[in-house]
């Protein structure tokens, strides 16, 4: 299994006769784009002093917010992925009446301003059904569980969409052949379908997690901004900005961005090592 990646081994990098500009223009645009993003983030340092970083790192409220951000985003991305795999499979493979409508409904949270999702959640939990759910012992409104719920609602549609696209690209004949080779349907799912959509799983997980890390609109509406309880880093940035402490806000942002970037880099490296690419 420790194979050289296929694309490196057998796809020639530069076919003959291609015009140089076809390679150079996209590359140039990519460099410009990445450079602009780096500049954008770098320019934040103009307004941040080392003291700001020290304040942020020493503040117990912000340390709590960082910890809450990390575990809530990880949990909601995991839940979104666990939902997206079967739901994406169903959307990709099953044909049933009303499929088009359901497919669009699943996409709806993407097009709604996500602040509205917070409002919807708040309203829902005031209905008798919502109150009943709260009565079961798990509190969502103005509670950490509400953060996870709101993040989950906002990021799951992206994960579902990516998983559907991933399953669309898998030839069902792979699964059919595996069945004739002696594997049962659940075994085929684990041994053929899931490895086939590995790229989709990674992409869904990364997108869901990254989106959840930066979400704050619906969280403020639905879960509130109680210090040390329901405050996430993105909320802290908003709160610091609203009282004019730009330095602190930017320091939080930079810490968050660096952490997220390191996590994504590690994750991608880990995912690339696990199995040969194809």
């Amino acid at each position: 299994m420790n194979q050289a990646p296929y694309h490196a081994a057998s796809v020639p990098a530069h076919p003959c006769g291609g015009s140089r500009s076809m390679r150079l223009i996209p590359l140039l645009l990519l460099l410009c784009y990445a450079g602009f993003l780096a500049l954008l983030i770098g320019s934040a340092f103009l307004y941040v002093t080392p003291g700001d970083f020290a304040t942020v790192l020493r503040n117990p409220d912000l340390r709590a917010a960082a910890w809450l951000t990390l575990w809530s985003a990880t949990l909601s991305a995991t839940l979104a992925l666990l939902l997206a795999i079967p739901v994406g499979l169903a959307l990709s493979r099953q044909r049933f009446p009303g499929r088009g409508l359901i497919d669009t409904l699943v996409d709806l949270p993407i097009v709604m301003p996500n602040l509205v999702i917070g409002v919807f959640l708040l309203v829902f939990f005031r209905t008798s059904l919502g109150q009943g759910i709260q009565g079961l012992g798990l509190r969502f409104v103005f509670a950490p569980a509400g953060i996870v719920l709101a993040q989950f609602i906002c990021v799951a549609p992206y994960a579902v969409r990516l998983m559907k696209a991933a399953f669309d690209a898998v030839d069902p004949r792979l699964e059919h052949v595996a069945r004739t080779l002696g594997w049962s349907a659940p075994q085929v799912f684990v041994r053929v379908s899931l490895p086939s959509v590995r790229g989709g799983i990674i992409a869904s997980g990364v997108i869901a997690w990254a989106l959840a890390m930066g979400l704050y609109g619906p969280l403020m509406v639905f879960a509130g901004t109680t210090r040390q309880r329901t405050e996430v880093l993105a909320t802290s940035v908003y709160l610091e900005l609203s009282i004019g402490r730009i330095g602190t806000a930017l320091a939080i942002t930079l810490i968050m961005v660096s952490f997220t970037m390191i996590c994504l880099l590690l994750f991608k490296r880990f995912a690339a090592l696990r199995m040969p690419r194809w």
Binding site: M1, Q3, Y6, A9, S10, D171, R173, L174, H176, V177, A178, R179, T180, L181, G182, W183, S184, A185, Q187, V192, P195, S196, R198, M275, P276, W278
Partner: protein
């Protein structure tokens, strides 16, 4: 007394109805060690039949038995079949050896046994050097061999090949035909081979089943089908060149098959256009032997061309071409020659209006 061995594959009255297409009354039987080629134009339902035999689609009517065991509703995993689909369907994330051993893994064999059987099969198919490669880097012919090895290594009761040559160029196609023949000889595998190409079908078939619009038109040996096609569709689909058009007319002696103004044979086809399939191997052209007798029909025909320099010498008679015959310099174009054919060897077919196979 020992009861005779059940057929390796027995299909009885298989039926499936889909929106816009249906398969009806497909029945066939295949003895162990034989190769049946299911031949038909694209879209005639061949792959659906294969899917039902594999258990990937449940038939709405009929029964399927493999090696005497009814499998109609069994899981594909329990049918003891090997299946090579059209596009090979190799697992892209497994190496060649991993792909081939995948079916053995399902049978929970110990790793060293799997490795041994995979190696044996790779050596047999000449792909041992590819063992650690991934499918994406392989050529069409190599993938085909891997898919074949993966299906054969589980020692299936029945090997189902769905258009295995369709993705290959001509040379690799010929290599694979030779390889399939060798494998069948060595392993005694029973094969159901699906294809739409005539050369492939005739090169491999012990028996030929011709399908059209969801029905089986004829099952017989290739020689039999060539000599006695069951319908004008089959004659046209097989591009038989030994066809002579004529008409069936009612006379005082009953119905006869007539070409031009000459009555050929009595027959019981409906009146109207019809055609005769002429058994060339039985044709005699010698002017002295070409006479009409009780069991041979004499047919005078004009020589259109008779050229020895053609790559495949060909005698052209009115409207038809007789392959592989050169008469000698004396027989110039324009002369009339009488040839004779056995009366019982001439197959008459009613003409059809549809042009599906043309």
């Amino acid at each position: 007394m020992v009861s005779p061995q059940p057929p390796r594959l027995l299909i009885e009255d298989l039926g499936l109805s889909l929106p816009g297409f249906s398969i009806t009354g497909v029945s066939l039987s295949l003895a162990a060690g034989r190769c049946l080629v299911l031949l038909g134009p694209t879209g005639c339902g061949k792959t659906l039949v294969a899917d039902m035999i594999c258990g990937l689609r449940r038939p709405q009517a009929g029964r399927i038995s493999i090696a005497g065991r009814e499998v109609t509703t069994l899981d594909p995993a329990d049918r003891a079949i090997g299946y090579v689909p059209q596009d090979h369907a190799l697992l892209p994330f497994k190496t060649v050896a991993g792909n081939i051993g995948f079916g053995l893994q399902a049978r929970r064999l110990p790793a060293h046994k799997i490795a041994q059987r995979v190696n044996d099969m790779m050596t047999r198919l000449g792909i041992a050097h590819l063992a650690r490669r991934l499918p994406a880097g392989l050529s069409g012919g190599e993938r085909q061999r891997v898919a074949l090895a993966r299906a054969l290594v589980t020692q299936p009761q029945l090997l189902i090949l769905d258009e295995p040559l369709s993705a290959l160029d001509e040379d690799s196609g010929e290599d694979l035909i030779a390889l399939l023949a060798t494998l069948r000889r060595e392993l005694g595998t029973t094969v159901l081979h699906i294809c739409h190409r005539l050369d492939e079908a005739f090169a491999l078939a012990d028996e030929l089943a011709i399908m059209r619009q969801g029905r089986l038109e004829q099952i017989a040996s290739p020689e039999q089908i060539r000599a006695w096609p069951a319908s004008a569709f089959i004659a046209r689909f097989l591009r038989l060149r030994n066809l002579l058009p004529g008409t069936v007319v009612e006379t005082a002696q009953g119905k006869v098959f007539r070409i031009g103004d000459r009555d050929w044979l009595p027959c019981d086809l409906p009146c109207g256009p019809a055609q005769a399939v002429l058994p060339w191997s039985e044709l005699r052209l010698d002017p002295d032997n070409g006479q009409e007798t009780d069991d041979r029909l004499g047919i005078p025909m004009r020589i259109i061309s008779n050229r020895p320099q053609d790559r495949e010498p060909c005698l052209q008679l009115d409207g038809i071409c007789v392959p592989g015959i050169f008469l000698g310099e004396a027989w110039q174009a324009g002369r009339i020659i009488t040839c004779s054919l056995p009366r019982h060897g001439i197959c008459l077919l009613p003409s059809e209006n549809d042009r599906e196979a043309s």
